[in-house]
């Protein structure tokens, strides 16, 4: 009762303080920093610019200010030299508890005010793609949770040191670490969460979950640290240790602190958001798993049930094998590291299985021993919260599973068979996915999905067929538009919220011009019997990919911000251009698997063609500035790098640093150096027209069925050049 009374009194006192008013007002205004100065979310979507950036900047500023307010308030009694009087009447422990609670209430009030003030502003700035749910989640998560963290850390530092000056230094260093050195570590950046983009058209629950997880981990950890510091509060004229010994006599106090700290360590180490993929992105150990002998896969089925509320997925898959070896065999699957596998049976009997600790490209390896029977039906259940690739941990959000959007790629969709060859029919598969009624399922590729069942619980089961071990599906509230270009049909899928932007941006015309360019310069694509290509808009990804019969269009290709910004207008759709061009270079014409140090891949010709299209669409100056100059700079930077020039020093570095430096190698060589070489070849063969003829010849050449890949030597031969001719030095 006394504590409640004290709490009321302290809260009234705090809220009457002019300094508190100042902190509250500044905190409420602080999101403006995210509009002007501090823009951690790099994507050009409206929600990134007008919700993520202001909320994160507001969280950063208000977290720091509330930390300072905490120090100011905790030091007040000592500063005014009334601490002896106060602590004669009230226990310092009780007073510290009351103070921290009142500061938390002040933070809550600040958050409420900030949300009220910024709601109309955000709505006005964002326009038609404003999402109330995103707003209501973003501000409390990005901004609101920063304030208690600031308060707890500053209060803990003060309670340990009992000195305002030292506390300020400790707090400044703690904040500076988050803002600088820890900024790229999604679990450590307590003040400025790693949010690179929020989607305008689809939901953002996955990235919100990730930030909540990080913030709650810190909240528990700092609560534990604060509790220990609380036990160290000086009492009865004793020092830190003496006071600690007095405080821990009530055993529940240190127990709570230890539980909190232990829980935070477990939460940090056992985080469920990203996997432990090998940081060496050139490693391909899963590709080296030896194939089984005398075992073939004759097909498989999968039933998948995404839980759109929890963001999880469960599934059942059945593989059919013919085992001609007469003995047990170990078959290997790639599976999302977030999934648990259970109920693994071969011909109805339990069989042993093992999930590897080693992970690569967002997959763990599931190894199952199948019996010696001639016909084996292997069934298994799997499910859980899909983890994202650790190497992309600062760009989380791609494995969104919600009622608005879903993207399930390869091992996240169903276990991907690694080491069993197919029979003559390849890998025929039937996939069934049960989705909410409002969602449309779009397989990424040539297949089409059909609704095979409607359920009373508001879901529908979709079914499609594919013929490969992996595959990607998209699902969401999509609009489908058919674009007929040069005799074939492009099925253009985009989010329903994006309709107005797509129309204003002239997306359909942009698609037509890309296809026209490629057909005119290189020739027609073969899209099979139906002669169609899917172009699917994804949630903001920062890149894209293409497969036979489908290309991706990043949401950020066409945004309202790009349209309203005259300087950025011409950037619209460049990921879409790149991924469409891959239908010609990469899919229409195949390239062998490229090795880490290899220059030659589908990317070289694709990037070069993208540059040519951009040059035609947006002018030579633009193409020179944003393509050729950027390639040149990246290549120059790479070859001037100290460690590239002095590999002996690179070898002396820790493995993670070596990887950080060498991982750029593949990217720079394939995406920057090769396009520059092709540009040089263009000049040597006599200009763009001559190069177009050469590329047309290569695209339409007669393929060797044993090795249908386009090689660097073929390219050089067609140009009449040697490797040395294309040296850039």
């Amino acid at each position: 009762m006394k504590t409640i009374c004290l709490f009321h009194l302290e809260l009234c006192r705090l809220l009457k303080s002019r300094f508190t008013y100042l902190i509250i007002v500044l905190s409420v205004l602080s999101p403006v920093i995210g509009l002007i100065l501090y823009k951690p979310a790099a994507a050009s979507t409206m929600l990134s610019i007008y919700i993520a950036n202001p909320a994160i900047a507001g969280g950063m500023a208000s977290g720091i200010m509330f930390g300072m307010l905490a120090v100011f308030e905790l030091d007040r009694a000592a500063r005014s030299r009334v601490d002896i009087l106060i602590y004669a009447a009230v226990s310092p422990l009780c007073m510290a508890l009351v103070r921290i609670l009142t500061l938390m209430i002040a933070a809550l009030i600040t958050l409420g005010l900030a949300m009220l003030v910024w709601l109309p502003v955000s709505k006005l700035l964002i326009g038609s793609v404003f999402g109330f749910v995103d707003y209501v989640l973003a501000y409390p998560i990005f901004m609101g949770l920063a304030m208690p963290l600031g308060i707890l850390s500053a209060a803990a530092a003060y309670q340990f040191t009992q000195r305002a000056d030292l506390t300020m230094v400790l707090f400044a260093a703690f904040a500076a670490l988050s803002l600088t050195l820890w900024a790229d570590n999604w679990q450590l950046c307590w003040l400025n969460p790693c949010v690179w983009a929020l989607s305008d058209d689809f939901s953002n629950f996955r990235i919100f979950r990730s930030v909540v997880y990080m913030r709650l981990t810190w909240l528990v950890a700092l609560s534990g640290v604060w509790t220990i510091s609380w036990l160290c509060l000086r009492q009865y004229g004793k020092g830190l240790l003496g006071s600690l010994l007095l405080s821990v006599r009530r055993i529940y106090r240190p127990t709570v602190a230890l539980i909190l700290l232990t829980f935070s360590v477990i939460a940090y180490a056992g985080q469920p958001m990203v996997d432990n993929s090998n940081p060496d992105e050139t490693a391909m150990l899963f590709n080296e798993v030896p194939y089984t002998e005398d075992v073939v896969c004759t097909g498989y089925t999968a039933q998948i049930f995404p839980d759109v509320n929890a963001g999880t997925l469960s599934g059942y898959t059945a593989y059919q094998f013919q085992n001609g070896s007469g003995q047990e065999q170990r078959v290997a699957f790639g599976i999302n590291p977030g999934y648990a596998v259970s109920n693994v049976k071969a011909n109805g009997l339990d069989v042993p299985f093992l999930v590897s600790d080693y992970q690569e490209y967002n997959e763990a390896m599931l190894e199952i021993t199948i019996p010696a029977d001639k016909q084996v039906e292997l069934t298994m259940e799997y499910g859980g919260f899909p983890r994202e690739n650790a190497n992309m941990s600062t760009m989380q959000g791609s494995t969104e599973i919600s009622e608005e959007y879903m993207c399930l790629e390869n091992a996240t969709l169903s276990p991907r068979l690694m080491n069993v060859p197919p029979d003559e029919n390849m890998y025929p598969a039937a996939i069934e996915i049960t989705l909410p009624y409002s969602m449309t399922l779009i397989p990424f590729g040539n297949s089409d999905a059909q609704v095979v069942a409607e359920h009373e619980n508001g879901t529908k089961t979709w079914r499609y067929k594919r013929n490969s071990t992996g595959g990607i599906v998209y699902a969401g509230n999509y609009i489908r538009e058919e674009v007929v270009v040069d005799g074939f049909t492009i099925e253009f899928y985009y989010g329903s919220k994006h309709k107005a932007v797509m129309e204003s941006a002239g997306a359909v015309n942009a698609i037509k011009s890309v296809v026209d360019y490629c057909v005119e310069h290189y020739g027609y694509l073969s899209f099979g019997d139906e002669n169609k290509l899917k172009l699917i808009q994804s949630r903001v990804l920062g890149g894209g990919y293409a497969a036979g019969g489908a290309s991706l269009l990043d949401e950020a290709d066409f945004t309202a911000e790009n349209l309203s910004n005259a300087d950025k207008g011409s950037e619209s759709g460049e990921v879409m251009i790149h991924e469409l061009v891959h239908q010609w270079w990469g899919l229409g014409n195949m390239f062998d698997v490229s090795y880490p140090n290899s220059l030659w891949s589908a990317e070289g010709l694709t990037v070069y063609t993208t540059y040519r299209i951009v040059k035609e669409l947006y002018g030579e100056d633009y193409a020179q500035k944003y393509y050729v100059a950027q390639w040149q700079k990246a290549v120059d930077d790479y070859y001037l790098d100290f460690y590239v020039r002095n590999p002996e020093y690179l070898a002396a570095l820790p493995a993670d640093k070596q990887l950080e430096i060498t991982d750029n190698l593949t990217y720079v060589r394939q995406y920057c150096e090769m396009p520059l070489k092709i540009l040089k070849a263009e000049a040597l063969v006599g200009g763009e027209e001559a190069m177009d003829k050469i590329l047309n010849g290569l695209f339409n050449r007669e393929l060797d069925p044993m090795y249908p890949y386009l090689t660097y030597q073929e390219f050089l031969n067609a140009c009449g050049l040697t490797e040395e001719d294309l040296n850039l030095a």
Binding site: L166, M168, V169, L170, A172, A173, A176, L177
Partner: protein
């Protein structure tokens, strides 16, 4: 005077604050060296004067705050109350003030030394590199003007209004003082158009640093002159 100087130094250095800030510097500095400096700046080696200068620049905000907090030992309200006693001693206030300023400078120099030693240990451990003489110039040009300015301006402000020191700690690092935000070390090597250029500074930067140094000294002198009046 030596005794007073020794006493003031002891008061600063044997405090919880000083030990605390050294620990913070060690932790923060090691993080900077391991995460940023190790990659090298502008195509130069991690142990080049440029990368080292970039490291020093990243540590300056912490030293800036530390130096100003050391000054609060002499400008706090408690210290003002003690002034009645210290003023009654037969020591000239200006000399006494100078001794205290020197003590604060010694404390700051020790903090800077910790930063430098940390880098030396890092370079030795990671690269077996011990050619420390090449680090003298960047150390001098980065630390001396900035920290003298921090102390001089802080001393001046602290004696005017003690709370101004806390505001001064939040000084946004201005762009034109390139050495303060490290941009000089990242940008200048690229403008020299040679690989691994020898350390040099533009005339503009040298002038800016000299102005900073002289302003710091001038502000300190003004404060000392003011204290004569008492």
């Amino acid at each position: 005077m030596r005794k007073i100087f020794g006493y003031e130094c002891k008061r600063l250095i044997c405090s919880k604050f000083f030990i605390g800030i050294i620990l913070v510097i060690l932790f923060y500095g090691w993080q900077v060296l391991n995460r940023v400096t190790i990659l090298g700046v502008s195509h130069t080696a991690p142990f080049s004067p440029w990368s080292y200068g970039d490291y020093l620049s990243r540590m300056i905000p912490l030293l800036w705050i530390g130096a100003l907090f050391l000054l609060t030992f002499f400008t706090s309200k408690a210290e003002q109350r003690r002034k009645a006693i210290t003023s009654a001693t037969p020591v000239k206030p200006s000399v006494y003030g100078l001794v205290r300023f020197c003590a604060a400078m010694t404390g700051t120099a020790l903090l800077a030394l910790v930063v430098i030693l940390l880098a030396i240990v890092f370079y030795g451990q990671m690269f077996n590199w011990y050619a420390w003489s090449s680090l003298l110039l960047p150390t001098f040009f980065t630390f001396v003007p900035t920290l003298v300015f921090a102390l001089g301006s802080g001393w001046f402000m602290g004696h005017f209004k003690a709370w101004l020191l806390f505001l001064w700690m939040l000084l946004p690092l201005p762009e034109f003082l390139g050495l303060l935000n490290g941009s000089v070390f990242a940008e200048r090597p690229l403008t020299l158009n040679v690989l691994d250029p020898a350390f040099s500074l533009s005339i503009g930067t040298v002038i800016a640093q000299c102005v900073l140094l002289l302003t710091g000294i001038a502000l300190m002198a003004v404060s000392a002159a003011k204290s004569k009046k008492y």
